[in-house]
């Protein structure tokens, strides 16, 4: 995505202008046409609701982010682990790749009813769902990165007596890291969304649960404020990983 993002200051100004125009149109539409809040609440109404329910929303966001972060960490470890073991032991590829593709042929949200049955409606099921969603993306991008290593560089290191582990650590992983980190960055937003989706099917707390409750009570201002908080949470998570990416890939 970032390649298509503009970076000059004029572009930033235009981006801000676009956002301001959107908010103004929204506000004018909602106020001017006196739209009922279940159709479209005004932006000011939503922001007021976010502020007045900040304790509830903050707690829910923390709950969801906790699930998303743990699941995200697990998913990254699993994805990288499988990819690295394939590159260390090539015969594994014939086993792992078809299984991974078969599991992935079902859209990941399809598994959430099953996972809820298996792991209950506590935090564990959300972590598992997030880990599943994240691990596949990270697995494939890591694998693509590890496969990109120059054969001659491997041979060179071997001729100097480097072992498999040292080739992995000094050559393969650094070569794979741009793709790996891109996969991780893409997975951030996904992990929050998957956590929220799973929460809506059954949970004790979290943003998805808040949204579901609000839908049931037809309190659409609260739905919008929860959406607002959820977007802010995913964006900051995305920003955090993007920041780490720039720190780690200092040579780019």
């Amino acid at each position: 995505m970032s390649a298509a993002l503009p970076s000059s200051s004029l572009a930033v100004q235009r981006g801000v202008l676009g956002a301001v125009l959107l908010v103004l149109c929204w506000e004018a539409l909602a106020r001017g046409l006196h739209l009922p809040s279940y159709v479209l609440p005004a932006v000011s109404e939503i922001l007021a609701c976010v502020w007045s329910k900040r304790a509830l929303l903050g707690e829910a966001a923390a709950y969801t982010l906790f699930e998303a972060l743990v699941g995200y960490g697990l998913g990254c470890l699993i994805g990288i682990g499988f990819a690295v073991s394939i590159s260390m032991l090539p015969p594994l590829r014939a086993v792992i790749l078809p299984v991974a593709t078969a599991v992935n042929s079902v859209p990941v949200v399809g598994y959430s009813p099953l996972i809820l049955l298996w792991f209950g409606i506590g935090v564990a099921s959300k972590m598992v769902m997030v880990a599943m969603a994240v691990s596949f993306t990270v697995f494939l991008s890591t694998l693509a990165g590890l496969d990109r290593v120059d054969r001659r560089a491997v041979d060179l290191m071997r001729s100097f007596g480097a072992g498999r582990l040292s080739i992995l650590w000094r050559l393969r992983l650094p070569t794979a890291s741009p793709l790996l980190l891109a996969g991780m960055r893409v997975s951030t937003v996904r992990s929050v969304i998957i956590a929220i989706i799973t929460e809506m099917l059954g949970a004790y707390g979290g943003l998805g649960w808040v949204i579901y409750q609000a839908v049931m009570q037809i309190d659409f201002v609260q739905v919008w404020s929860a959406i607002f908080v959820a977007s802010a949470a995913s964006l900051s998570f995305f920003g955090l990983i993007g920041f780490l990416e720039r720190k780690i890939l200092f040579w780019r």
Binding site: R14, G18, L21, L97, L117, I196
Partner: protein, 273 residues
């Protein structure tokens, strides 16, 4: 979500077995596919039987197929309904994505104003958005298609834009020097250049639109794969749950295969396939 597209070129196995070369190409492929499916089914059945996996976690494949055969109507209806939602959402999202991609390419100011909003819009959890869409459009097929559309258009927009930007400016200058109009430039040069990129996004979008349709059905519908999944969860019927998952897998892979086949036809010059 665009980098998920790295996921999309897994099956690149060699096809150089001389014994098979007497058969026509498609037959060989079909045979290999069938063989793979049979092996997978046998492994599944065998693993459940001999490792003693509880049916609560993974029922035997034969039990699942028997359950589907017992009530084929529900699965068929659900499959067709979800297919319709997916296809409408995908078609609308694909067309909108390409058009907006072209518009963004032509009008830089428009792109800089709206593109950030698109990016932010993708962080809205689809299910929360779904609640609103179902409210706006009612609990109809259209509402589900809109959710599928919402998930589909963004990757297509991004990749159309990226593809259009890879066009060699020298070729544009050349065509202009021969008096090509903007429309000719677009149809003969820019879109064909962008097509491989667009198809990468379309393949990704094919699975995303299915996600949108399934999630959309969770807001209370009566037919569809998503409905089957939820009903099975509420009754804790794991066999039916796996049946619905199989239906989803069939729909997802089938749709993906159709898009990939269309890609091989239309982007025949691309070395990627």
């Amino acid at each position: 979500m665009s980098a998920g597209s790295t996921a999309l070129s897994v099956d690149k196995r060699g096809t150089g077995d001389p014994r098979w070369s007497v058969l026509p190409d498609w037959l060989r492929k079909a045979a290999r596919l069938l063989l793979g499916l049979v092996i997978a089914a046998l492994v599944w059945e065998g693993a459940v039987r001999f490792l003693g996996i509880k049916p609560y976690y993974l029922p035997r494949l034969s039990a699942i197929l028997a359950a589907i055969a017992a009530t084929p109507r529900a699965y068929l209806d659900g499959f067709l309904r979800t297919l319709a939602e997916t296809l409408i959402g995908f078609a609308a999202g694909g067309a909108f994505g390409v058009l907006i991609g072209i518009a963004f390419f032509r009008l830089r100011a428009l792109r800089e104003m709206i593109f950030p909003i698109f990016v932010v819009s993708q962080t809205i959890p689809v299910i929360a958005f779904g609640a609103l869409v179902v409210l706006w459009f009612g609990n109809t097929l259209l509402a589900k298609a809109v959710i599928a559309f919402y998930l589909t258009f963004f990757p297509v927009t991004v990749n159309t834009l990226l593809g259009l930007e890879t066009v060699d400016p020298k070729l544009v200058a050349l065509m202009k020097s021969f008096g090509a109009s903007n429309r000719q430039l677009l149809l003969r040069l820019q879109l064909p250049t962008a097509l491989p990129h667009i198809f990468v996004a379309l393949r990704l979008a094919s699975s995303l639109s299915l996600v949108g349709a399934i999630v959309g059905e969770w807001f209370g519908d009566t037919t569809g794969i998503g409905v089957l999944l939820l009903q099975a969860m509420f009754t804790e019927n794991v066999v039916a749950l796996w049946g619905a998952l199989l239906a989803a897998a069939l729909l997802g892979t089938g749709f993906y295969a159709v898009i990939a086949a269309a890609e091989r036809r239309l982007v025949f010059w691309s070395a990627q396939q």
